[in-house]
């Protein structure tokens, strides 16, 4: 990595935000919007960007749409930052730093993509890239389901907690059945950590290859501050995508995450905190 020459507004880099203008906003679900920007960012599925609302804050997001001269992110409305984001309009500006982190490594053979909630955003460009494999989405209710009409997603299986769309239950519900039917497959996972952990136990049971994207609180995004650590790995640099073998070594996985001040708390507590 080298220091950023502050001399160009048009190249994306990891040390300084580059300004983009919102080109188009799409409602993906009741609580989720996609924001589209012009610009050519080198991005591999599974990586992330830091999105800056000038004067407010900077937070990590996956790129959910990626083309030669545009890209988009899909954001759920959760707290202070995403609320502000959802209020923004076409023409408003945002800063983008990235691409950051390690992407999914695409494996040969059968693929099974399992996304929970807005974790689906991280898998979306992987769907575009793979052009094969099974897609499983878990959502709260029918009005939370993402990308139902998106090209490439026609075969997606949906699970909702209340059964208002697709099948009732968690997206991990039928994994054993699927395995019996299709045999060895690579699992690509992004979602709430309890879900990821359930997939992990399934994968370990059957010795299946698996890659999961883990969310940890991100600050610098470039491996400097140590904030995003999960055991001895920095999720902004050695993650957010890690493979099953690595997950096996992580004692924090599925159990602990660090708050903004670095305190290590139970993952359930972490997921509830608003900043």
């Amino acid at each position: 990595m080298s220091y950023t020459p502050n001399d160009s507004e048009s190249t994306f880099n990891v040390l300084q935000p580059t300004i983009v203008r919102i080109d188009r906003i799409v409602d993906e679900s009741k609580t989720t919007k996609s924001f589209f920007f012009n610009g050519n960012i080198e991005y591999e599925p599974g990586q992330f960007i830091m999105l800056w609302i000038p004067g407010l804050d900077e937070k990590p997001f996956s790129i959910s749409y990626h083309g030669k001269n545009f890209f988009g992110i899909t954001a759920a409305c959760k707290g202070r930052f995403t609320r502000k984001l959802h209020q923004m309009s076409v023409g408003d500006i945002l800063g983008v730093r990235g691409p950051l982190g390690r992407p999914f490594t695409i494996q040969k053979g059968n693929a099974c993509l399992i996304g929970g909630g807005v974790g689906m955003a991280s898998l979306a460009t992987l769907v575009d890239r793979l052009k094969r494999g099974m897609i499983i989405q878990g959502a709260k209710t029918a009005s939370d389901v993402l990308f139902r009409d998106r090209t490439g997603f026609s075969g997606m299986t949906v699970y909702t907690e209340d059964g208002s769309a697709g099948e009732i239950g968690l997206p991990t519900k039928n994994l054993e059945t699927i395995y019996k039917q299709f045999g060895v497959m690579t699992l690509y996972v992004c979602g709430p950590e309890p879900m990821t952990h359930a997939v992990f136990e399934f994968a370990r049971r059957h010795g299946l290859p698996m890659q999961a994207s883990l969310e940890r609180y991100m600050k610098c995004g470039i491996g400097l501050c140590g904030q995003c650590s999960c055991d001895g790995l920095r999720m902004c640099l050695e993650g957010p995508v890690v493979d099953r073998e690595t997950l096996e070594t992580l004692s924090d996985f599925g159990r602990f995450a660090r708050l903004k001040d670095g305190r290590k708390v139970a993952i359930e507590e972490y997921l509830q905190v608003r900043t």
Binding site: M1, S2, Y3, T4, P5, N6, D7, E9, N13, V14, L15, Q16, P17, I19, M50, W52, P54, G55, L56, D57, E58, K59, I93, G95, R97, M218, K219, C220, I222, G223, L224, C225, G226, Q227, S229, D231, G232, R234, R258, L259, K260, D261, G262, R263, K264, T275
Partner: protein
Amino acid sequence: MAAVDLSTELCGIKLRNPTVLASGILGTSNALLQMVAGAGVGAVTTKSISLDPMPGHNNPITVGFEAGLLNAVGYSNPGLHAAIEEFKNLEGMGVPVIASVIGRGVGEFIKVVEGLWSQGFAAIEISLSCPHTPGFGMMAGQSNPHYTRQVVAAVRRVTSIPIFVKLSPETPDIAKVAVAAEEAGADGITAVNTMGPGMVINIEARQPVLGFKMGGVSGPALRPIAVRCVYEIYKAVRIPIIGTGGVSTGRHAIEMLMAGATAVGIGTAVCISGLDVFSAVCREMEEWMEANNVSSVQELIGTAHELYPE
């Protein structure tokens, strides 16, 4: 010639080589320190620890520019209680671990050091020098001879392990502060913390990038300032110095040693060059020392103070 000896000794603490992980870089957990130890560092420093947990400033906390990095982390850390839980079994680390300590006042410094020092740390580093956190360091006027004397004397009474004092390059007469620290019982000086603060404005957004608007400057931009500080401190005190600021190559490390450092802190370069920076710096030092017939680090320390040619 015989193999080069990179080992060095900081007031009794033996280091296999002079590189030290600077405070605030990766030092948030035992596991991360372990990873750095595995990368060949000589000693590691924890992220600064305060009495109470601190969330730090909002993002962005770092921003790069053409000659270095700005940061306004704002001393985010989980506080003393969590640190006691986190930093355990330090013997297993394989390298000495230095605990960096901050406080809003002498009382807080005492409490944190009392709580921490017997965890197995090799030394305590008292940071009086952060330029971007209200209540601490430069923003609280801690980097002056009077305050330094007070804090060091107070901390000296509650711990028997070596005490380092970390100074700011913005201190008007840095050598005087170092002397005050030495007189009050400090065993070493860490020089320097980040300079500035500086500011980077994104001109499309017309806004300072950092969440705190301004932040301390580290990396290449800081290096000659750090070298001058070490040079001045070396002239004034007899206790060892960890020379820190912008070091990213073996030549830089040797320059710090010649200015008067006994060990060399590395921070920002860990991010820019990766964890390999420690072993790369050591390899480059070895190569230079072999080529220049220098067999030990001791032969380099402070040599820039000797007059040339005779």
